[in-house]
């Protein structure tokens, strides 16, 4: 992880957060909303690990909260945990697996929806579990899975995969 990587990721997440807030939040097909920020965060976390994922999640979530004038920290909290989790998955089980981005996006979409719903509920806001978990979740997952391949490819271009020296040794040793 370098300062250049952090700067690239920050700019990427800033652009994506603005696109998400100003453009994609109004797109709705079949009750689902594409979440470009979430998919990008998954890609960043898978490529750069848990710390990067957590920081990226916090930063991206904060941007969304600021831009939408939501309760500050709400999206940050969910995306921080999500970014960290996916980062750990990328560092361990999910490394070098081609299906890792798709699995990660599907799982994080569900966790994000549930987490955000619970936080809103704890804050005493009206939330419809049916709307979140039944009506819109499946189309949102489908949307995000469609976005996964191009977004992952793009993020890979911006943030070149790092040489995991420790892991490389382990792989050679085990054959």
């Amino acid at each position: 992880m370098t300062g250049a990587d952090a700067a690239k990721a920050a700019v990427l997440l800033l652009v994506v957060a603005i696109v998400q807030v100003s453009l994609l939040s109004s797109v709705s097909v079949g009750g689902g909303h594409p979440d470009l920020l979430l998919v990008t965060l998954v890609a960043v976390a898978l490529l750069r690990g848990s710390v990067f994922g957590a920081l990226g999640g916090f930063f991206g979530g904060l941007l969304v909260d600021v831009a939408t004038l939501e309760t500050l920290g709400l999206t940050s909290l969910v995306l921080t945990v999500g970014g960290y989790w996916i980062g750990r998955y990328g560092e361990t089980t999910g490394r070098d697996r081609t299906h890792a981005p798709y699995v990660s996006v599907a799982v994080v979409t569900v966790l994000y929806a549930v987490g955000a719903m619970l936080l809103h509920f704890f804050l005493g806001e009206e939330v419809s579990a049916r709307l979140v978990l039944v009506d819109s979740l499946v189309p949102t997952i489908a949307f995000n899975l469609i976005l996964t391949a191009p977004v992952y490819w793009l993020v890979k271009k911006v943030l070149r995969p790092v040489e995991w020296t420790d892991r490389a040794r382990e792989v050679r040793l085990l054959g």
Binding site: L72, T80, L119, G175
Partner: protein
């Protein structure tokens, strides 16, 4: 063989001197994990703190002011993004509206079709109701023949090119062959076939129909039957030239009960009105045309006259 080859290659790898991570690397890993945890917990705590402050703070508090300022700073970027995306969004909206209009059109067509069907059904029910009410009035009136009960029925079908109808009453309702069928206007015909809940009625306009009838004014007897031609005009046949029959005279069923073959129809059921009377020197009988009271083309409901005591 493959096993040997693999084993060899593996041995080559395993045979090399592997540089184990030094103790310092383990410390580095532990340090990395610790740093990772510290970072994530710090971010979680920071998020929770932001939520708490943001939630509890008044809308004019410093955090809200900061958020408003940051949102204002982000606004130009949002506007720029919107402008860039506007053509694409418009194109998307156009397609979306087009798809919506198509589905709306299909839905409205479907609704229109349903409403039309309901309207037709309602009109049919209204007309049927009026016909049944009329039949009920007739049954309660003084002209209803004694010794009979009426079995009301709907016209269920009209076989094409036949002077017949199928009604929704049959043997289950007591209807038998040769029972007279009437409406409040007059005689319709007779039952020629009866099944469980349906019956076939042959109309007066069928060439095979023949009814013993009489002139209501003077009591001239004859036989009502349909001519060889088309239309609904009936002929009052077998009326001798010495009888007095005039135009506009009403013809009713005679209901003759004498003889070995009494009339199938009860007496006094209106049949029609005399429209023309003709005499020729060579013919024994008069040529009398009768316009039936019943409109055979628009029959909706009829009543079958079932004898209260049926003769076997």
């Amino acid at each position: 063989m493959a096993t040997t080859r693999n084993r060899t290659s593996r041995l080559v790898v395993l045979g090399q001197s592997v540089r184990r991570p030094a103790a310092s690397t383990l410390t580095s890993r532990s340090g990395s994990a610790l740093r990772r945890r510290i970072v994530v917990w710090a971010l979680v705590v920071l998020s929770l703190a932001l939520i708490t402050v943001s939630f509890r703070e008044a809308s004019d508090g410093p955090l809200h002011a900061l958020q408003n300022g940051a949102a204002s700073a982000l606004r130009p970027f949002e506007v720029a993004t919107e402008r860039v995306a506007t053509p694409f969004r418009d194109a998307w909206g156009w397609f979306d509206e087009l798809l919506g209009a198509r589905s709306d059109n299909a839905r409205l067509k479907h609704e229109n079709q349903e409403l039309r069907q309901k309207y037709v059904a309602a009109r049919a029910a209204q007309e049927e109701n009026a016909a049944l009410e009329k039949a009920l009035d007739y049954q309660r009136g003084p002209e209803f023949p004694n010794g009979f009960r009426a079995v009301n029925a709907r016209v269920a079908a009209r076989p094409s090119q036949r002077q017949q109808i199928v009604i929704s009453a049959g043997t289950n309702q007591g209807v038998r062959e040769d029972d007279a069928v009437v409406t409040a206007d007059g005689l319709v015909g007779k039952v020629t076939r009866a099944a469980g809940s349906v019956a076939q009625v042959t109309l007066l306009t069928d060439p095979t129909s023949a009814v013993a009838a009489k002139n209501l004014r003077k009591g001239a007897y004859g036989l009502i039957r349909h001519g060889a031609g088309g239309g609904t005009v009936l002929f009052f046949d077998l009326v001798t030239k010495d009888e007095v029959v005039r135009k506009d005279d009403i013809v009713i069923t005679a209901g003759t009960q004498e003889g070995a073959r009494p009339s199938l129809y009860p007496a006094g059921i209106p049949i029609g009105e005399v429209t023309s009377v003709g005499r020729t020197d060579t013919d024994v009988f008069m040529q009398i045309q009768v316009e039936p009271f019943v409109d055979f083309g628009s029959l909706d409901a009829v009543a079958v006259l079932v004898p209260r005591e049926r003769r076997r």
